[in-house]
C-alpha cells in the first residue's frame, strides 16, 4: 500500500492563465514517459493487425518507387540517371511529411476520450504522431541506403547534411501539425481539405521530377525577371527540403553523384520553418484550453 507522493506541483489557473515556457517545459519533462508510450502505441497500433508488421515501412516506399519507375519509363523516358534512386531519395522524406501531416491533423480529435477525461500536456499528441512517423522514416532510410549502394552511388561525406535537413523538415512539419490538429477540433473539414492539398502539394514538389527539367535559369513575368526554381523553393519549403536531400544523396542534374549544398540555402528554409513552428505552436497553445469542451 503506497500513500500519496509528496506534493511536487501546484497549479493555479484562471481565465487569463498564460502559457509560460518554463512551467511548460518542466511539465513536458514530467510527462516524458507518456511521450514514449504514445509513440509506441502509434507504432504498435499501426502494425498490430498486419501480417508483415513493421516491414511495411520498408515495403511501402519500395512499392511506390516501383510504380513510379515503371510509369515514368513508359510515359516519359527521359534520361535522368539512376531514376529509382532519384525517386526514392525524395519519396521517403515526402512520405514522412505527408504521413505525419495526415495523421497529425487528427492527433487531437482521435484522442477525444483521453482529452475529455484526463489532463496531460496536449502537445504530446501531435509530437508523438510525428515521432512515430520518424521511426518509419528511419526504416525507409535503410532501404534508401541499400539502393544507393546498389546503384553505385554509395554514401559520401555529404550525408552529414541529412540530420540538418531532417531537423529542418521536422520543425516545418511540426509547425503545420500544430495548426492543423488544433483547427481540426473546431472545423472538421480540415481532413477533407488536407487530402486535396496534400495531393496538389505532392505535384508541386519535385519528387518525381526536378525543377531544372521544367524551368530555365530565368523567367519573366509581368516584366520582372526571376529565377523560377528559387521562387518555387522559397514559396514551398518542402521543395527546398526535398531538393536538399536529393543534392546530398543523389546529386544534381549536372553532377554525376552526391554533391555539396549551399548552407545559406538550407539556413533560409530553417528560418522559415522555425517561424512556422513558432506561429503553429502559438495557435495550438491559444486554443488548447478549449479542446476539452469542443470535442
Amino acid at each position: 500500500m503506497s500513500g500519496p507522493l509528496p506534493i511536487v506541483e501546484t497549479y493555479t489557473y484562471d481565465a487569463n492563465t498564460r502559457w509560460h515556457w518554463r512551467t511548460r517545459l518542466r511539465e513536458l519533462w514530467l510527462y516524458r514517459y507518456l511521450l514514449y508510450n504514445l509513440v509506441m502505441r502509434d507504432l504498435k497500433a499501426r502494425y498490430k493487425n498486419s501480417l508483415l508488421g513493421i516491414l511495411w515501412s520498408l515495403l511501402n516506399p519500395l512499392g511506390l518507387m516501383l510504380v513510379f519507375t515503371v510509369v515514368f519509363s513508359v510515359l516519359r523516358p527521359d534520361n535522368i540517371r539512376q531514376f529509382p534512386v532519384f525517386l526514392l531519395v525524395a519519396l521517403i522524406p515526402w512520405r514522412l511529411f505527408a504521413g505525419a501531416l495526415a495523421s497529425g491533423s487528427e492527433a487531437i480529435i482521435n484522442n477525444s476520450s483521453l482529452i475529455k477525461k484526463v489532463y496531460f500536456p496536449r502537445e504530446l499528441l501531435p509530437v508523438s504522431v510525428l515521432l512515430s512517423h520518424l521511426v518509419n522514416f528511419f526504416f525507409g532510410f535503410i532501404v534508401l541506403v541499400a539502393f544507393l549502394y546498389a546503384f553505385g552511388l554509395g554514401l559520401t561525406r555529404y550525408v552529414f547534411w541529412v540530420p540538418v535537413i531532417l531537423l529542418t523538415q521536422m520543425i516545418f512539419t511540426l509547425g503545420l501539425v500544430f495548426v492543423l490538429s488544433s483547427v481540426a477540433v473546431f472545423y472538421r473539414d480540415v481532413q477533407m481539405i488536407l487530402d486535396v492539398v496534400l495531393q496538389a502539394w505532392f505535384f508541386l514538389t519535385p519528387v518525381f521530377y526536378s525543377f531544372e527539367t521544367f524551368f530555365g535559369p530565368t523567367a519573366t513575368l509581368f516584366g520582372i525577371t526571376f529565377d523560377p526554381t528559387r521562387v518555387m523553393r522559397w514559396v514551398n519549403p518542402m521543395a527546398a527540403i526535398i531538393d536538399s536531400y536529393r543534392t546530398v544523396l543523389w546529386g544534381t542534374q549536372g553532377s554525376l553523384g552526391p554533391t555539396s549544398m549551399d548552407p545559406s540555402f538550407l539556413l533560409r528554409t530553417l528560418i522559415q520553418s522555425l517561424i512556422i513552428l513558432f506561429v503553429g505552436y502559438a495557435i495550438f497553445v491559444r486554443t488548447e484550453h478549449l479542446f476539452g469542451e469542443k470535442l
Binding site: 501546484t10 481565465a15 496531460f120
Partner: protein
C-alpha cells in the same frame, strides 16, 4: 455563499475562488467552414437580436470552496446541476471563464474508467500507457505493476488485447490503474458500478485505504449511502451554484428536504405504466396511503403511522380472497411482503366493493423512495385475481429519525451492562 470546510493549519489542496464556467450553445459555434460562412452571412440579423448571452449556459456559477489535504468530499446535486463540470474544472480538463482554481499535487480522475485504453493493445501495454497518461514514470509503473494486475484479477488475461475484454474486465483494469498511481487527489465520478458486488466492495475498501493513507478524495454520487460511507463533507450544487457545503449529514438533510419540496404533491403516485395481470374476477380499484389524521399523503416520515388502503371490486362472489402488499426500496430491495392470510384477516365470501387497510403503527422505513405492489390472490394462492406490480410509489422524507444507515429502523433499544456491576449497589 462561501462556506468553509473545517479549516486546518495547512493550505488547502483544492481551492476554488468565485469560479464560473459558461458553455456556449452549439448553434453559435459553426462546426465546419460551411457553417462558418453561413453564420457570417447571417450575422447582420443575428447581431440585432443580440443573443450571445442568452444562448449561453452557466454550468458553474460563482462557486468557491476549499478542500484540505486528506479530506474526502462528495458533490451532490440533481442531473445537470454542474457536478461534472465542477469535476472537470478541478481535473484541469476545462478552464474557468471567471475565477481561479488552485490544485496542489497530482490528480487521478476516474471520470471514465479506462479512458484512453487502446483496443488493439494488450492489458499489459495499456497499463503502461494509462499510468503514464496519469503522469507516472516507468520505474513507478514497474513498481506498481503487479499490484495493479492482482487487484484487477486479470492475471491470466493481461497479455490479451483489451478489445477481447468484457466491459466488466475493462472497467476493472481501468479502476485498478487509477487507484494505483499514488495520486494526491482522487476524483471519482459515479464509478462504483464496477462489475459485480464483490469487486465493488473491493473498490470501496481500496478507496478507504487510500483515504487512510492521506489521499484527498472528491466523489460525485447520487447514492446517499455511498456518500455517507466515503465522505466527511459534502458540497451541494444546484443549477450551477453552490447551495450548501459542510458535514455530510447536514448537507444531505438539506438536499433531501429540497428534493422533497421540489416534488409536486399528488395523490398516491401511480407509476404511469406497470405490469398488471390476473383473472380480473376481483379488481383493485385504487390504493391510498393515509396518515394518522385520515389525510391522504404520498410522503411520510419514519415512525409515523401509515395506513395502506386498497379498494376492491369483486365481479363475482370470491371466497377468502387474499390481499397482499410488497414494499420495495427504489434500489430494488424487497423489504417486506405482508398478506392478509398470514395476517389472519377473515373475510368469508366477498361480494361487491369495499376496502382493506394495512396499518403500520410506526413506519420503520428510513428516508428514501419506495415502491409498492398491491395484489389480490385466490385463497389457495394459486392464481392472481389482480396484480399491480410495483405500481405505486411513496417517499419517506427525512426528519423522523436520526438513523441513516440501511433501509429500516428496527423497533429496538440499547442496553448497557458492564461485566462487574458492583457500583450499582452503592
Amino acid at each position: 455563499m462561501l462556506t468553509k470546510i473545517t479549516p486546518e493549519d495547512t493550505l488547502p489542496i483544492i481551492r476554488l475562488e468565485n469560479v464560473s464556467k459558461r458553455f456556449a450553445f452549439s448553434e453559435e459555434q459553426p462546426n465546419s467552414f460551411m457553417e462558418l460562412v453561413i453564420s457570417r452571412l447571417a450575422k447582420p440579423q443575428k447581431a440585432a437580436t443580440n443573443t450571445t448571452h442568452e444562448h449561453s449556459l452557466w454550468a458553474v456559477h460563482d462557486v468557491s470552496f476549499a478542500v484540505w489535504p486528506g479530506q474526502s468530499i462528495g458533490i451532490i446535486g440533481r442531473n445537470g446541476s454542474g457536478k461534472s463540470t465542477l469535476m472537470k474544472l478541478i481535473a484541469r480538463i476545462l478552464r474557468p471563464n471567471e475565477g481561479r482554481i488552485t490544485v496542489r499535487g497530482r490528480v487521478s480522475a476516474l471520470l471514465e474508467l479506462g479512458a484512453g485504453f487502446h483496443p488493439d493493445l494488450t492489458g499489459r501495454e495499456n497499463i503502461y500507457l494509462n499510468a503514464s497518461v496519469l503522469g507516472l514514470q516507468k520505474a513507478d509503473i514497474e513498481r506498481h505493476f503487479d499490484s495493479v494486475v492482482s487487484f484487477s484479477e486479470l492475471d491470466s488475461f493481461i497479455d490479451m488485447p483489451v478489445k477481447h475484454y468484457s466491459s466488466g474486465m475493462y472497467m476493472r483494469l481501468g479502476f485498478s490503474v487509477a487507484v494505483h498511481v499514488s495520486p494526491n487527489i482522487l476524483i471519482i465520478d459515479e464509478i462504483l458500478a464496477v462489475g459485480d458486488q464483490k469487486f465493488q466492495e473491493k473498490c470501496i475498501s481500496r478507496i478507504y485505504d487510500m483515504q487512510q493513507s492521506g489521499v484527498t478524495i472528491v466523489l460525485v454520487s447520487h447514492s446517499a449511502d455511498m456518500l455517507r460511507r466515503l465522505c466527511s463533507h459534502l458540497i451541494w450544487m444546484e443549477s450551477g451554484r453552490l447551495m450548501a457545503a459542510g458535514p455530510t449529514e447536514e448537507v444531505l438533510q438539506k438536499y433531501l428536504e429540497f428534493l422533497y419540496d421540489q416534488e409536486p404533491r399528488k395523490a398516491i403516485e401511480q407509476t404511469s405504466s406497470f405490469e398488471r395481470w390476473g383473472t380480473g374476477d376481483m379488481e383493485i380499484t385504487g390504493v391510498r396511503l393515509i396518515d394518522s389524521t385520515g389525510q391522504e399523503r404520498t410522503s411520510f416520515k419514519t415512525n409515523e403511522l401509515m395506513i395502506v388502503e386498497m379498494a376492491y371490486q369483486a365481479h363475482r362472489p370470491i371466497t377468502e380472497p387474499e390481499f397482499g402488499l410488497a414494499i420495495f426500496h427504489q434500489n430494488g430491495t424487497h423489504i417486506t411482503g405482508p398478506n392478509s392470510r398470514v395476517g389472519r384477516l377473515k373475510t368469508g365470501i366477498v361480494t361487491g366493493s369495499g376496502v382493506v387497510r394495512y396499518h403500520i403503527e410506526r413506519l420503520p422505513l428510513l428516508p428514501g423512495r419506495y415502491r409498492l405492489t398491491a395484489a389480490i390472490h385466490d385463497s389457495r394462492y394459486l392464481m392472481a385475481h389482480d396484480y399491480h406490480k410495483e405500481a405505486y410509489s411513496f417517499e419517506v422524507a427525512p426528519g423522523g429519525t436520526q438513523e441513516t444507515h440501511g433501509l429500516i429502523e428496527l423497533p429496538a433499544h440499547w442496553e448497557w451492562q458492564p461485566a462487574h456491576s458492583t457500583q450499582s449497589e452503592a
